[in-house]
Each structure stands twice: as structure tokens, then as C-alpha cells.
């Protein structure tokens, strides 16, 4: 092939993120020839951490990724599980952390746009978005700025495209101050037999690029932003952040689904990180074929773009499909109906090569296998840290919390990690598409109705969670807790888990203590998935989340999807009726260490979390789930941040009713009230229904009744007595940020 100008050298390779060894491997993969500018740009992206998972792939292989109701597993744009009635639900969570740290509005918006495309790339109609956010503490102006603009960006994209944002979570902790996390999850619905894969096939078939034109935005995003630590001067990386256009994406989505509906596509792939480079190489690799792409046929929005820029541009709202030549007219007609531009830019070949042409001239030629398979995979070198990685949280509470437990409860309700998320959720549309049976704040999990089957009204429930601070304390148990927490959320809605997706947000894996966090966390994830009996359907890894100030808390964000047979009986978290009895269900063994109260008190992270008896936790989840499904409970809520007292307060506030509760743990009242640890539920209902939950190794303690407009809790000498009004005021603390 012809050389284009002088060849770049190893310095350019290193500037683009490759190591010297990797550069030499590239030369080896090309048969001893140094890569030209186009090739080097493509290799540097596909061999970046973001695209190649070179530090995590070996670990990810240890996760259970088959069995259960899986119909589409890892490796596709999104995984999917069977939900009965010939339908499947596709879902995935993905990060957009570094772009959001640099430009939060567009970073978050295009994070939503990217995950939506992953879902409709498998043919599914996106029906729900959830998000998982982490920022520094709110007394930092930067954190407030990032929060405000990230939330606005998520809303801008999701609201405009007409996909409901049905849930999410957010935490504010010091280690995220300089490296916020923006993870977005999308769930889609599809007839199982219509699922489409991304493998290109059939030499002679055409590659059609459709959607937005290609510009210089987002060039090098995967390597420059996503695969390196953040540092000084990141503002200058703003041109690496893509700009979102939800209107273009909405047309692109409807167009893609219409093309699929008409059976016009052989394969479909979205353009995300590394743009055309990644899409073309992945499609060719999966299909065991080659592709020719002519950059001169790619519609551009800027003049004078170089071939390498066209190949690596991360311009948003674009899809690449493979079609049979006979279908071209029909494909173009569908695209025209949706006012979506489409161009043939190349074809499938039997060469096993990715060839990049610029009109008549060949400007790059690489074996598909070299691009996709030859990237070296690295073994992690994990080593448990010998000293604390994280500084103790900043102390917020003056007292130990014991002197006035009522004030302590108010302080917890006011804490940004516990306060009502409504001021954020109000900026998202949760009801469009008319499926949402439980909106944010109504149940521990979002609940969506599936199409009715005769008299049956089946549905799905979705939860997303991941408490980084507890994972930092104990990566193995903290990750198990996060999975069980999601499963508990589903149980409260009446749903049984079907499949799990995850986004592993960690620091620099080349550092032994981060490698240790990652390894332990994945071990916990694998054990937890096996315990709840669900496959990992796919996910995302985001590494290098650290800067000069140190790493983020290790944050595996877990997204869990489950099914419920009857959405008319979906669970609710708020107390419903005066006189209902209240019970504490499950093997709840709270500890103050690692709790939100410990954080407010400025206490260091513990070096491990209490052991969880997974079998007993799952037994408790089972009885709660069954009781919710049978309609015998008035409310169900799992005990999480802030412990039992906060859980009770949340049930009161959601239902607008008070409660009187007496706890028999009188030795350590603080621990009984505010200690944390998985496995516990607060449920309400008739006494007989509550007593029926016991047995089979499931502990049930009836602790009080729903009554009046105050929450009263006795725990030995300690007594809390607070009006709903005072609790509501404290719980509404985040409102002030958005006034």
C-alpha cells in the first residue's frame, strides 16, 4: 500500500496512549511495517483500555455469563434476557465519567445518547433510562456545578428523546471530587426473535452509515479521556467531548427500528467510542470477514478532514449497518422517511482486512485480527494495601449521635447521600411511553408494565446501586452487598432477578492496590451473581478514575432487572394505613463502622465489613417478594444507608403517616437505630400476614404500628420522637440546591 506523507514514529504512538512495547507489537502485527497516520490512530484507539479492556478482560471472563433466561450475552451491543410472551428485555450500563468531569452537560447527555444507541443497536426499543452518579461533597462549588449540569444533561437527552428516566442513585463523597462518575443504564424491549447482532457477513454486502454527519468532535475521546488519569489542564480536552443532539438520535432510533421491522438489515452497530474505527473492526471481527471503507463517501460537517480524523471521529447519533445490495433502495427510502441521511461507505469483503480508502487511494490496511485480537492483555498485579488508601471523611457531626438520637436522625435525613432525590428526579420525565407503574420514590425499584397477556399484567422491575464507600472498606463483601441490595430492591417491588449488568468504575489498574480492589470486587460480583442465580449480560469497565488527589472509591455500579407476574400488585415503600403493624424481616446485623453515621462523624473506613449469610439474606428476600406478590403486605422497604431509623422515616414520609416502634436491642441503641448491614427489610401490613413471613430460617420481629403523624422509636433508654413535618424538612435538603 502507498505511504501517505512521512510515517509517525514511536513518539506519536506514545502521545496517542500506546506504550513502546505495544507500538512494537503493532509493527509485528503489520508484518514488520510501521503504521501510517491512519493506522496508528486506529490502533491507538482499539488498543486503548476503553476499547480493548486489556487490564480487565481476563477478570471479566470469571463472571457467570450464561444460563438462566439469557438470550443475548456479553460481546454484543447489549445483553438480553427472556421475559416471557416471546419478548426479551435488553439492557446495559455504561460510564461517561471523564467527558462529564471535563464538560458535565454534554458529557452526561451523550452518555445517555450512547447507551440508548447500544440498546436500539440490538433492535430493542428503549423503554427506560436509569442513572448512577457520584460527585464530591456538596460544600464544593465544583461538585454543585457538576451535579447541576450533569442532571440537566441527562434530562435534556432523555426527556427530548421520549424515553422515561425511571430511577437512579447518587452519592456525594470526597474521593469523587475531581473524578465524578456518570453511569447510565438503558433498558429496551424487543420480540426475542427480532434481536439483531453486530456480526458483518456476506462479502459484497454494503456498509451503510446513517444518521448525523461526521465532524471533528470527540476525536480521541476513548484514548485521550477515557483511558488516562485526569489532571491539570483538562479544560483543554473539551474538544474531545462530543456534543449531543437528541432530536437527531430520536430520528435515528425510529429509523433503525423501522429498518429492522422491515427485515432490511444483516447487521447493525452503533458508533460510540472510536467511531467508525471501532464499529467497522468489531463488525468485521465478529463476522470473520473484512471491510473496505471509503472515507471520501462519509458525509462530513467540516471541510478538510483528514482520513484519520474521519475514522476516529466520535460524532454522535450515527449507526453503521450491513445490508444486501438489493435492499439499498428500500433502506434509503426508510431513511428518507425519517429524515435521516444515509450513505453507502463501503462493503464487506472476504479479505480479513480493514482497508481504509480515500477515493482511489488506499490509506490504511490492517488485518482485522491485529486490530481486535492482537491487543496484549495484561495480568493485574494485585496487592492488598498495607495502609489506608483514603483519608477519613470530613467530620460533619459534632456529637457521637448518642446524646440526641432525634437530631441524629434529622442529620442523616439531611445528608446528601440520604436526602430525598426528588429535586433531581423532577428534572426527568418518568412517565412517557405509559409503562411506568412505580416512579422514583414510590418503591425501592422502578416498575414497568409489559404488554398485557390476556388478563395477565406482567412487568419488570429495575434497580441500580453501588455504595463505593462500603466497597472501599471491603471490595469483596461490599460488592456482594451491592448486588444483594439491588436484589432486595427488586424483592420489595415483588420482582425476581433475571439478569445483571455492571459498570466497574475504578482507579488506575496498573497500581497494585487498585488491581487488588478490582480483583476482589469482581470475585464478589461473580459469587453474588451465582448466589442469586443470574447471568451477567454485559457491562462496561471504566478505569483510571483518579488524579493527583488519589483514586475514586472502587465503585461497581450494579444494574439488576427482574420480572413480576402482576404489576397490579407491585410493591410500594410508603406506609399505607393507620393500624398496620410494622415488622423487621431478615438477618439484619447492623454495624456503625462503614455506615453513613460513621461518615458524618468523620470516622475512618473500617478494614472489613461484617460477614453476610447470603443464604439467609436470600431466604428473607424470597419471603418478602412472595408476600408482595400475594398482596399481603401494605409496604416493603429494604434497610440501607442510615439504618433502620432512616428506613422507618422513609416509609413514614412516602406514606404520609407516622409510626410507633419499640426495638428490643437496648444494649447498643445507636447501632440498632443507625447501624448498616445488608439483609434487613421494614414491612407493614396486618399482624397475621406479618407473622406468616416467619419460619424457614427467616427472622421476623414485629416492632410497632403505623399511627398518627409522628415517628416515635424507643431503643432502650434512647428515644426518637419527630413530626413528619420536621423529618420532611430535613429530608428535602437537596431542594435548596435547585431553588
Amino acid at each position: 500500500m502507498s505511504a501517505v506523507g512521512s510515517l509517525p514514529g514511536v513518539e506519536q504512538a506514545i502521545a496517542l496512549g500506546l506504550t513502546q512495547d505495544e507500538y512494537e507489537l503493532v509493527i509485528e502485527s503489520l508484518g514488520g511495517r510501521a503504521p501510517n497516520e491512519v493506522e496508528l490512530a486506529m490502533f491507538s484507539l482499539l488498543w486503548s483500555e476503553h476499547c480493548s479492556y486489556k487490564h480487565s478482560k481476563k477478570l471479566l471472563r470469571t463472571l457467570p455469563s450464561s444460563g438462566g433466561r439469557l438470550v443475548l450475552g456479553p460481546g454484543e451491543n447489549a445483553g438480553a434476557v427472556d421475559v416471557g410472551g416471546g419478548l426479551a428485555v435488553a439492557f446495559k450500563v455504561e460510564s461517561h465519567n471523564h467527558p462529564s468531569a471535563v464538560e458535565p452537560f454534554q458529557g452526561a447527555a451523550t452518555g445517555v445518547g450512547g447507551i440508548l444507541r447500544d440498546i436500539f443497536a440490538v433492535g430493542a426499543q428503549p423503554i427506560a433510562v436509569l442513572d448512577s452518579l457520584r460527585f464530591g461533597e456538596l460544600d464544593s462549588e465544583r461538585s454543585r456545578y457538576l451535579l447541576e449540569h450533569a442532571v440537566a444533561g441527562i434530562g435534556h437527552y432523555g426527556n427530548s428523546i421520549g424515553v422515561p428516566t425511571v430511577g437512579g442513585e447518587v452519592y456525594f463523597e470526597g474521593p469523587y471530587e475531581h473524578n465524578c462518575l456518570i453511569n447510565a443504564m438503558c433498558v429496551g424491549l424487543i420480540e426475542t426473535e427480532r434481536l439483531i447482532r453486530s456480526a458483518a457477513s456476506g462479502p459484497g454486502n454494503l456498509l451503510v452509515l446513517f444518521g448525523a454527519s461526521t465532524g471533528r468532535d470527540g476525536i480521541g475521546g476513548a484514548s485521550v479521556l477515557a483511558s488516562a488519569e485526569l489532571g491539570e489542564g483538562d479544560e483543554t480536552k473539551r474538544p474531545s467531548v462530543q456534543i449531543g443532539d437528541p432530536f437527531a438520535e430520536k430520528k435515528l432510533m425510529l429509523c433503525s427500528l423501522d429498518l429492522l421491522e422491515r427485515g432490511l438489515l444483516v447487521a447493525l452497530q452503533d458508533l460510540g467510542a472510536a467511531g467508525l474505527t471501532s464499529a467497522a473492526a468489531e463488525m468485521a471481527s465478529k463476522g470473520g470477514v473484512g471491510v473496505d471503507i471509503d472515507v471520501a463517501r462519509v458525509p462530513l460537517r467540516e471541510e478538510g478532514m483528514e482520513p484519520f480524523e474521519i475514522m476516529v471521529s466520535e460524532s454522535q447519533e450515527r449507526m453503521l449497518c450491513v445490508i444486501e445490495p438489493d435492499s439499498l433502495d428500500a433502506v434509503l427510502a426508510v431513511c428518507e422517511h425519517w429524515e435521516t441521511a444515509a450513505s453507502v461507505i463501503g462493503e464487506v469483503t472476504a479479505s480479513g482486512l480493514v482497508r481504509v480508502l480515500d477515493g482511489e487511494q488506499t490509506v490504511g490496511e490492517m488485518p482485522v485480527a491485529a486490530l481486535v485480537d492482537d491487543c496484549p492483555l495484561y495480568d493485574l498485579e494485585p496487592q492488598a494495601p498495607t495502609e489506608a488508601i483514603y483519608a477519613a471523611p470530613r467530620r460533619v457531626l459534632d456529637s457521637s449521635g448518642e446524646e440526641d438520637p432525634g437530631e441524629t436522625l434529622l442529620a442523616l435525613l439531611r445528608s446528601p447521600n440520604i436526602a430525598d432525590r426528588l429535586p433531581l428526579f423532577e428534572q426527568y420525565d418518568p412517565v412517557v411511553q405509559s409503562r411506568t407503574v412505580r416512579r422514583p420514590g414510590q418503591s425501592d425499584a422502578a416498575v414497568l408494565a409489559l404488554p398485557a397477556r390476556g388478563e395477565e399484567r406482567p412487568g419488570i422491575a429495575i434497580a441500580i446501586d453501588g455504595n463505593g464507600r462500603r466497597v472501599a472498606a471491603d471490595p469483596y463483601r461490599g460488592t456482594i452487598e451491592a448486588v444483594l441490595e439491588c436484589a432486595a430492591n427488586l424483592a420489595c417491588a415483588g420482582a425476581e432477578p433475571l439478569g445483571l449488568t455492571n459498570c466497574l468504575n475504578f482507579g488506575n489498574p496498573e497500581k497494585p492496590h487498585i488491581a487488588w480492589q478490582l480483583t476482589e470486587s469482581v470475585r464478589g460480583l461473580a459469587d453474588a451473581c451465582r448466589a442469586i442465580g443470574v447471568p451477567v449480560v454485559g457491562g462496561n469497565v471504566s478505569l483510571y478514575n483518579e488524579g493527583a488527589e488519589g483514586p475514586i472509591y472502587p465503585t461497581p455500579v450494579i444494574g439488576l432487572v427482574g420480572e413480576l407476574p402482576d404489576v397490579r400488585r407491585a410493591g410500594a415503600l410508603g406506609f399505607r394505613a393507620e393500624g398496620d403493624r410494622i415488622a423487621l424481616v431478615g438477618p439484619f446485623a447492623p454495624e456503625i463502622a462503614g455506615s453513613e453515621l460513621a461518615r458524618l462523624g468523620g470516622r475512618e473506613l473500617p478494614t472489613s465489613l461484617g460477614e453476610l449469610d447470603i443464604r439467609r439474606v436470600l431466604a428473607a428476600q424470597g419471603v418478602v417478594r412472595d408476600a408482595v406478590r400475594s398482596g399481603s403486605l401494605a409496604s416493603a422497604h429494604d434497610i440501607a444507608e442510615g439504618g433502620l431509623a432512616v428506613a422507618l422515616a422513609e416509609c413514614c414520609l412516602a406514606g404520609g403517616l407516622g409510626a410507633e416502634v419499640a426495638l428490643d436491642d437496648t444494649v447498643k441503641p445507636l447501632r440498632a437505630l443507625f447501624g448498616e448491614g445488608g439483609g434487613g427489610f421494614v414491612v407493614s401490613g396486618g399482624e397475621a400476614a406479618l407473622r406468616a413471613l416467619g419460619g424457614d430460617g427467616v427472622a421476623v420481629r414485629i416492632v410497632g404500628s403505623v399511627s398518627g403523624a409522628r415517628l416515635t422509636i424507643w431503643a432502650g433508654e434512647a428515644r426518637i420522637e419527630l413530626s413528619l413535618e420536621r423529618m420532611r424538612e430535613a429530608h428535602g435538603a437537596l431542594r435548596a440546591l435547585f431553588d
Binding site: 437528541p246 430520536k250 430520528k251 425519517w338 426527568y428 418518568p430 412517565v431 405509559s434 407503574v437 397490579r568
Partner: protein
């Protein structure tokens, strides 16, 4: 009784409106690029972000091919219900007085609000008692109703303010808590709340259904 629901590129709640109308009558989709109203008895201009709403909410949709027929249909007395973005489109098209401005908060707001049915009955509220309160969600960034004082006075005097946010419920800073108005001829109705998202107990409330049912009953009569 046959409803037509317009789909512009960027409409979001068109399917929801179609489903809501189907509960009380026949409902068909009307495509923005057509010039054909398919013989419908009433038109719903739905919510969403028509053409992306990058210029000004509703400002481009007002020039959509099908709007020629919609405007003519309205001038001939045909029933038109503009919901949220549809209300904005109707104002831009001159079918309704006033304008929708950016919310006081300058933010998107989703909220289940209580709205009151006011004034003389209209085709859209014929099945409801004045003073009745409905629980219906709002979701918009551009929902603050504005009109010059003289126009407002005329609207109030003529009983054209059909829906108002209940005390303390105004989510956007609309003047006089106005949530929905009709034109002078009372056949075009614009409202910011989304009645199509309040037609099923399972998803929140059934209070919005009465607006569609009222229209179906009157239009069929």
C-alpha cells in the same frame, strides 16, 4: 368519533395520546408531512420536542405541512386539543392567544399536580363540574403561560381559562396559575398538563381520561 393525533419528528407523547384517545373512540396517527386529516372529528397536537424545538418551542412545527389543514380545520370549528408542546404549537400558529415561556426555575419539571376545572363548560370539559380538581402530571421546560394583562382580562371575562393550577401547585410561574385555555370560539384547547398520562390507575391516575371522554361525547353528538 375519530381522533387524529399528529406525529411531528420529535413528538414524544404521540403514542401515549393515541392510546388515551383509543380508550374513548377511534384514533389514528396523522403524519406531519401529509396534507390529509383522514376525516377525523378531533385533532390532538401532542407533547414532545417537535423538530427538536431548538429554535423556540413549537416555532417550527407551526409550519409543518399538516398544520395548513389543522389551522383550516380549527377555523371551521373543528376540535383541536394541544397538549404541552401541542399547546406551544397552537400558540405559535395563532390558534390560541398568549405564549409559553421558560419556567421560572429555568429547569425541566415533572410533577403530578392538581388542576381545577373552571368557568363555562367547553367540549373538552363537558363531563366535568366546574371546581372539580384533577390530578395530572406536568413535564416541560417551557410551560409558563404569558399574555398581556389586557388579553388575560379578556380571557377571564370570556371564561376562556379552562384549567388552573390549584393553589400552591403552579409548577412554572404561569400568570394567574393558568394551566389551560380555549380560544374565543371554544373549539381549540391548549393545556400544559398531560391528560394522556392520567388515563390508567396503574400508571398514576385516571383523572385525565374525562377530558378525552368529554370531547368524544360532544364530538359524537
Amino acid at each position: 368519533m375519530k381522533f387524529g393525533v399528529i406525529s411531528f419528528p420529535g413528538s414524544c407523547d404521540d403514542s401515549d395520546a393515541l392510546a388515551a384517545c383509543s380508550r374513548v373512540g377511534e384514533a389514528v396517527q396523522l403524519w406531519h408531512a401529509d396534507h390529509d386529516l383522514a376525516g377525523v372529528d378531533a385533532i390532538v397536537v401532542p407533547g414532545g420536542f417537535s423538530y427538536g424545538d431548538y429554535l423556540r418551542a413549537g416555532a417550527i412545527a407551526r409550519f409543518a405541512p399538516i398544520m395548513t389543514e389543522v389551522i383550516e380545520f380549527a377555523h371551521e370549528g373543528g376540535y383541536v386539543m394541544g397538549i404541552c408542546n401541542g399547546f406551544q404549537v397552537c400558540c405559535e400558529a395563532g390558534l390560541l392567544p398568549g405564549a409559553l415561556l421558560t419556567n421560572i426555575s429555568r429547569r425541566f419539571v415533572f410533577r403530578q399536580v392538581r388542576v381545577r376545572v373552571l368557568g363555562e363548560p367547553t367540549a373538552f370539559t363537558s363531563g366535568l363540574t366546574p371546581g372539580a380538581e384533577l390530578s395530572i402530571p406536568v413535564k416541560h421546560t417551557t410551560g409558563r403561560y404569558f399574555a398581556p394583562r389586557a388579553t388575560l382580562a379578556r380571557l377571564h371575562a370570556a371564561g376562556q381559562v379552562v384549567l388552573s393550577y390549584a393553589p400552591g401547585q403552579n409548577p412554572n410561574g404561569s400568570l394567574d396559575d393558568i394551566a389551560g385555555i380555549v380560544n374565543e370560539a371554544r373549539n381549540v384547547f391548549g393545556l400544559m398538563p398531560h391528560p394522556e398520562h392520567a388515563v390508567d390507575e396503574l400508571t398514576g391516575s385516571t383523572d385525565g381520561l374525562s377530558l378525552f371522554a368529554s370531547l368524544a361525547a360532544v364530538a359524537a353528538a
